[in-house]
């Protein structure tokens, strides 16, 4: 980190912490220095919901506050048509003064002519890598068909391949040994196929109701809507990003933070979060 970046960050963070009464000297005074905000008036100090936590607003970045000082938003490239994006998996580990985060996986998404290729690796005692190839319709990026391959590091005999199709109502998944079917009630969109939709800005004025394909599991009845512009601390200063919030069955509330050029810089969930690390067209 450059010295001036560090100083800027340190100043920003210290000022924010001080404002919240988190610096030891202020905390010891037992009084809040916090100004009223958003017309909600003054609240009592404390680390909990009624307290003074700079990172609870916006809540979208709570799970990655420990990572943000090292996060430099990617400043070039676009996500609407063909692109290759890389994300780091930012795991939330525990809560300290700020969240404790560490990188525990990676994701690469390549989009070209209606076909997505993804490679996601999560490290645990053994790393699990999931590769998918997915064909999508042009309208809403709904899924037409996909192929998923799962492998566990060092365990060749645990590899399997699934092929799936969605006919507009039923999603069918087949492997060598099994087949599964699920009924959908909304357009079926894979999580990573949301990125071009977010990049397009189309969702800013109209919430999206959909069923989500995550791996080969169905997460029904999702709503993704624009929830305003937020300013967050990042490496070297602050960044203004559009926040989109997704909620629905089988997921924790998920925020997509998108810059003015449509790059989805951060995706936050809870224990698993994603930070854009490279983008090429």
């Amino acid at each position: 980190m450059k010295r001036r970046d560090f100083l800027a960050l340190a100043t920003t963070t210290a000022a924010a912490l001080a404002a919240e009464g988190f610096l030891p000297v202020l905390a010891a005074e037992g009084t809040s220095k916090r100004p009223a905000r958003n017309g909600q008036g003054h609240r009592k100090p404390g680390p909990l919901s009624n307290g003074t936590n700079i990172f609870t607003e916006p809540c979208a970045i709570e799970p990655v506050t420990g990572y943000l000082p090292a996060f430099a938003p990617i400043a070039s490239g676009a996500m609407q048509d063909g692109f290759t994006a890389s994300y780091s998996l930012i795991a939330w580990k525990k809560a300290a003064a700020i969240s404790t985060n560490r990188v525990r996986g990676s994701l690469r998404i390549r989009l070209a002519e209606g076909q997505y290729e993804t490679r996601e690796t999560r490290t645990s005692k053994k790393a699990n890598t999931v590769r998918t190839t997915m064909h999508c319709a042009r309208d809403l990026n709904t899924v037409k068909s996909w192929r998923l391959e799962s492998s566990i590091a060092g365990e060749e005999e645990l590899r399997f391949v699934e092929e799936g199709v969605w006919d507009g109502t039923i999603m069918t998944v087949k492997a060598k040994s099994w087949s599964q079917q699920r009924t959908t009630t909304h357009p079926l969109i894979a999580r990573w196929a949301l990125l071009p939709l977010l990049a397009s800005g189309r969702l800013k004025n109209r919430p999206l109701r959909f069923d989500m394909l995550d791996d080969s599991t169905l997460r029904p009845d999702q709503t993704l809507r624009y929830s305003g512009e937020i300013e967050i601390p990042v490496k070297g200063g602050k960044a203004k990003l559009d926040s989109y919030a997704q909620a629905g069955q089988g997921i924790v509330p998920t925020h997509y933070l998108v810059d003015r050029d449509g790059r989805v810089q951060l995706i936050t969930m809870s224990h698993v979060n994603w930070a854009l690390s490279a983008l090429n067209n």
């Binding site: 909990l48 399997f160 169905l218």
Partner: protein, 432 residues
């Protein structure tokens, strides 16, 4: 001897016993567990041996109660000489024993007892990997031995670790954007200003958001269980595999104004249990009558594996005959659960009533038929006193069956002291 079946033991962590939509809960959607309920027998009066992770899991895998296996509370080491189900089924049933996911039995490496195919328990981060590892095993297993495949899912346990800064509430502020989706507080919610530090200062909205997100974690693990269950159900192993599903303990979920576990009210102690064996266990059975306890899982698995019970397994009984609809004449008249956190408490549940004996003296008594939410403590009533007296006799009988572990670990010695003193007193005739 008939061919030994394969056994798939699926367990989740911290699942409230009613967090299943098939059980009538309108705030959570668990289509996959619902299918499992429809495909087999769900035991609705099922309890954890000790409602905390390590002790409950140690009980599943050894058939011993928490006061017997050396793990009275989390992070105490299991007695090294006790065999576990993995070792036992390998030795006596020639099983291929396989494990994925959360183990959490201190002092015993999973690898000592199983072929470990995937990592540890990490909820949102790794439950998908647990399912995929087990599915990969089903896809590729060509061995001649029957398998004992264990899928240890972590969620909904992620509820214990709200991903926020400084012990803060993470995304709880999001609650205001989904107000109409937030479940109501339980009827027996009551705010206790002295309750756990984590919840002090919580507003009603925070509690309701906790419940909301808890159910989403349940749905997340339900999706993964569904993937695995369907992979099994349509595989060549479908007809000859017994599926056992349960949870190590429940979660407070706002009931009695509490979170988490480690106590004997229903929300923490009661767990869901489902068994499936196509062609052997009739579909769609619901058993609300027969009480069961965590060590019954061990006895059940031994029964299906056609191996003897583990040594000194004096409490557990196999659920198999009940699930298969056979007549059973000597079922548990009562079950006992233990919780040795803090002051220590013992739960005794019989058909209609439950008594909670606190190791430092007080008791609580509930009529679970009339008062399923445990809002009316009958301890000072004549009815309550009669129940306490009967349950005290049960407790004495129970203690007589135990081989109490008096080898005290230097980790959490107070937990050992709690039950050793309490049970010693009981054996000497002291009234709990």
């Amino acid at each position: 001897m008939p061919k030994r079946p394969n056994i798939l033991f699926v367990h989740v962590d911290q699942m409230h016993w009613q967090a299943v939509s098939a059980y009538g809960n309108p705030h959570v959607r668990t289509p996959n567990l619902d299918r499992m309920v429809a495909d087999g027998c769900s035991f609705r009066a099922s309890y954890s041996a000790m409602p905390q992770c390590c002790p409950a899991r140690s009980s599943w895998y050894t058939g011993r109660m928490s006061s017997e296996h050396g793990v009275p509370v989390n992070n105490c080491p299991i007695l090294p000489e006790l065999p576990d189900l993995g070792q036992w089924l390998r030795k006596h049933g020639d099983y291929e024993t396989v494990y994925a996911g959360k183990w959490h039995i201190p002092g015993r490496k999973t690898e000592q007892s199983f072929r470990v195919i995937f990592g540890t328990g990490e909820g949102e981060h790794a439950d998908g990997g647990v399912a995929r590892a087990c599915m990969g095993f089903l896809e590729n297993y060509r061995g001649s031995k029957p398998f004992f495949l264990n899928a240890g899912f972590m969620n909904p346990h992620d509820c214990c670790m709200t991903a926020g800064a400084r012990g803060g509430l993470g995304k709880f502020r999001f609650a205001s954007e989904i107000m109409e989706q937030l479940p109501p507080l339980p009827q027996n919610f009551r705010k206790d200003p002295h309750y756990a530090q984590r919840t002090r200062g919580w507003r009603e909205l925070d509690w309701r958001y906790y419940i909301y997100i808890y159910y989403r974690w349940v749905e997340m693990v339900d999706a993964e269980i569904g993937r695995l269950y369907d992979a099994l159900r349509t595989s060549r192993f479908a007809d000859n595999t017994v599926v056992v599903f349960t949870a190590d303990h429940g979660d407070g979920l706002g009931f009695h104004g509490k979170l988490s576990k480690g106590y004997m009210e229903e929300e923490a102690w009661h767990v869901p249990t489902i068994m499936i064996h196509p062609g052997h266990i009739p579909t769609g059975q619901v058993d609300t009558e027969h009480l069961s306890i965590g060590v019954d899982i061990t006895a059940t698995i031994c029964d299906y594996a056609q191996v003897p019970g583990l040594p000194r397994m004096t409490i557990g009984k196999s659920l198999r005959p009940l699930a298969e609809g056979r007549a059973v004449t000597d079922w548990h008249e009562y079950v006992v659960g233990e919780a040795f956190l803090g002051r220590g408490q013992i739960g005794v549940r019989s058909g209609q009533h439950k008594t909670i004996f606190y190791c430092d003296g007080p008791v609580k008594v509930f009529d679970l038929k009339a008062d399923p939410l445990e809002m009316n403590n009958l301890a000072v009533t004549a009815e309550g006193q009669a129940v306490v007296n009967r349950h005290r006799e049960y407790l004495s009988e129970y203690v007589g069956k135990l081989e109490i572990c008096e080898r005290v670990s230097n980790r959490r010695p107070q937990a050992y002291a709690t039950y050793i003193q309490f049970y010693r007193g009981l054996k000497k005739g002291a009234k709990p």
